[in-house]
């Protein structure tokens, strides 16, 4: 399986290398070495390595490795979940989007957030009651282990692969800008550190790295937004008014603009963001780290609050960027006669709005702090992704599909650690070869696959009695293939990467089509499935139902 994925990604690499496309962030120039940032980042690395060492000593069983022994509290877990969500893309990307388009940034923030209530109402408690380490445990609870684990693991690995490539490339460019380190160094540092966190510290280290980073990021963003508001007497109206005055688009930034140009596109984006959240493997696995369904439910509640708060901060930061940076030429590459384009010529590109604003409101040391936090953010997110991928390989593919349950726990955990090393090396390699490729569509693709493959398989297997193995397997495959195909035929890949004149699929976001297609396939195929196995699986629903609703018989917090 691993080899298959590797083959697929290599094929993708070869394909995109053949059709070389324009770089994503624009040609990034390496800046001068930023010592305060590097020192603060080194401090973060030392701290997290210390935690990893402690976690490694306490990680003995598979439950420790995959799920931190089930001993994470609701509050800690909510910070880890929020941390997984507050990626560098959210922080820098959304504040940059607010900077260029104003209101349109809110469309992404709300979309990223509203998946959480759905996760809470339909998924979280049942997931905790039924599962142990991966969401495939839940989806295959009463269905055929081999088929369902294969489709879940493939869904997981595809999501992890695309998300990881996007993060690695982002990390390389960001660190080039922030720290003045060469691209390749940056990618290697990220890759090696994430291997260390995951292979040695397992879920415990991955969780605590994420929690520390979440606290640093929330603290830094709060300070920045507070400093911006302070300059405007804590009156947002004054901030908005001065932003409208200096922004080239003027008053248009306060209203929906060109980001969402047609209704179908808007709905499809919304569906993908909302239900993708409920199918991201590195998020779903966090529900297995808490002791019971009550803790799972509380962690979603707190996490929703933290994430919502964070997105409101990024909105203020984006507007602060407009108001405070746009009229200051020192943040722009100046053309002849000191002229500059406020939207295009920002030093480092518009993704650097939050970083430049840190300098404007807090001086060079705060700039160093925010840069270090941005690096830490990427590191923490890739570690979570790596663990999700490694778990899918060892716990789902190896232990259940290849060894058919005949393996020891120690062997399985060792394989997981080995997988983490391999994933890390592959990620470094892909990060390197994708340096000058357009990777912007990849996070969107990861969400689309999560919404169209993982989420339908999971939701139907726990919510509908009639779901059979054949239904879930074909539906998951149809969702996966249709989502990937539609993205490949869309403008982002077909035109931008492959250089064809016109896209074959008219929308950028496939979820509005691929997700219902997956659900419909699961439904129809399950209805048509008259096999003996299907009858057994429907009969087994009652036991699953009782356990998912009450937790009676659920696996306890700790391995005994």
């Amino acid at each position: 399986m691993n080899r298959l994925l590797l083959g697929l990604t290599l094929a993708a690499v070869a394909a995109s290398a053949a059709y070389a496309a324009g770089p994503d962030l624009g040609a990034v120039q390496q800046s001068a070495t930023n010592w305060p940032a590097i020192l603060m980042f080194l401090f973060f690395v030392l701290l997290t390595l210390g935690i990893t060492y402690k976690a490694a000593k306490g990680t003995k069983s598979a439950a420790d490795f995959y799920a931190a022994g089930g001993g994470i509290s609701a509050g800690t877990n909510s910070l880890a979940i929020a941390g997984d969500y507050m990626s560098a893309a959210s922080f820098l990307g959304i504040s940059g989007l607010v900077y260029t388009s104003g209101f349109d940034g809110l469309i992404y923030s709300t979309g990223f957030l509203v998946g959480w209530p759905i996760v809470l109402f339909l998924i979280a408690e049942r997931l905790r009651n039924l599962g142990k380490f991966t969401f495939a445990d839940v989806a295959s609870f009463r269905l055929d282990q081999t088929s369902i684990r294969i489709i879940s693991a493939v869904g997981t690995l595809v999501v992890v692969a695309f998300y990881l490539i996007a993060q690695m490339v982002g990390a390389g460019k960001l660190i080039q800008l922030l720290f003045g380190l060469p691209y390749l160094y940056a990618v290697i540092i990220v890759g090696v550190l994430m291997i260390v966190y995951v292979a040695f510290g397992g879920m415990k280290a991955t969780t605590w790295v994420q929690v520390i980073k979440a606290c640093l990021l929330l603290g830094g963003a709060t300070f920045m937004a507070g400093a911006v508001l302070l300059k405007y007497g804590f009156n947002p109206e004054v901030l908005f008014a001065s932003a409208v005055q200096v922004h080239p688009k003027g008053d248009a930034i306060m209203a929906p603009g060109g980001l969402v140009s047609n209704p179908v596109e808007a709905l499809s984006l919304g569906v993908g963001l909302m239900f993708g959240t409920a199918g991201l493997p590195h998020i779903l696995m966090r529900f297995f780290t808490v002791s019971d369904a009550q803790a799972a439910r509380k962690s979603v509640f707190y996490a929703t609050g933290l994430i919502g708060y964070f997105y409101i901060l990024t909105f203020i930061i984006g507007f602060g960027g407009i108001a405070l940076l746009m009229s200051d030429p020192s943040y722009f590459k100046l053309g002849p006669a000191g002229a500059f384009d406020k939207l295009k010529d920002m030093i480092g590109g518009t993704n650097m709005v939050a970083v430049n604003l840190a300098n404007a409101v807090g001086g060079p040391y705060f700039l160093g702090f925010i840069s270090a936090v941005a690096f830490a953010t990427i590191l923490a997110v890739v570690a979570g992704l790596t663990l999700a991928g490694a778990s899918a390989i060892s716990h789902d593919l190896y232990a259940q599909v290849i060894a058919r349950g005949r393996t020891t726990e120690k062997h399985e955990v060792n394989l997981s650690k080995f997988s983490a090393v391999v994933i890390g090396l592959v990620a470094i390699y892909l990060g390197y070869v994708f340096e000058n490729q357009n990777v912007a569509f990849m996070v969107g693709l990861a969400f689309a696959v999560a919404a169209s493959c993982n989420f339908p398989v999971l939701a139907m297997s726990i919510l509908w009695r009639g779901t059979t193995t054949w239904g879930a397997l074909t539906g998951g495959l149809v969702g996966l293939i249709s989502a990937v195909t539609m993205v490949v035929l869309s403008k982002a890949v077909w035109v931008t990467t492959f250089g064809h004149p016109a896209p074959l699929f008219p929308y950028d976001n496939p979820a509005l089509f691929s997700m219902p297609l997956a659900f419909a396939t699961i439904w129809v195929v399950s209805l048509m499935d008259k096999s003996r196995r299907a009858q057994r699986e429907r009969a087994a629903f009652e036991a699953q139902y009782v356990r998912s609703e009450t937790g009676i018989g659920a696996s306890g917090a700790h391995a005994h």
Binding site: S61, A62, A63, F103, L106, I107, S109, T110, L113, V114, W116, P117, L120, F121, K132, S140, F141, R142, L143, E237, F240, A241, V244, D251, M254, A255, P256, V260, P263, A266, L267, L269, G270, S291, D292, R297, K298, F301, G305, Y311, I312, A399, G405, E409, E412, A540, E542, A543, Y545, V546, R547, E549, T550, I552, G553, A554, S555, G556, A557, H560
Partner: protein
């Protein structure tokens, strides 16, 4: 919470349909499923969860729908510079948080009580 009696205590869950929860053998499951306490818990919680889900979908896709079909409404000014769209967007964020809070409050009191009663009556 009762610990995993029928699960492989270490590592993997037992293969389904064999011994998990004593699926086929355990008449307890059928008794729980048919008990009025279980049915009340499940029907109340399912109705509540789906109601909140539908509310969230209406609010979010209402917002997206306005962006798609009526941009000018969202551009209407409320108090100087801030537009109606801004308030609606922030409202969607707060609404999502509020809904999760409502669900957790209800689950912590009503649903947990029903669930505990069920577990008591089946001696688990």
């Amino acid at each position: 919470m009762s610990s995993g009696t029928t699960l492989g205590a270490r590592g993997r869950p037992a293969p389904p349909g064999t011994a998990t929860l004593g699926t086929d053998q355990d008449p307890q499951v059928a008794r729980i499923a048919r008990s009025p306490e279980f049915q009340q818990l499940v029907s109340e919680r399912t109705r509540f969860a789906w109601t909140l889900t539908v509310l969230m979908l209406i609010v979010y896709f209402g917002f997206i729908g306005l962006i798609a079909f009526d941009k000018s409404l969202l551009a209407v000014k409320v108090g100087g510079t801030a537009s109606l769209g801004l308030f609606v967007g922030v409202f969607v964020i707060l609404f999502a948080f509020l809904l999760t809070g409502i669900y957790v409050a209800r689950a912590n009191t009503r649903f947990d009580a029903l669930s505990d009663a069920l577990k008591r009556s089946f001696g688990r």
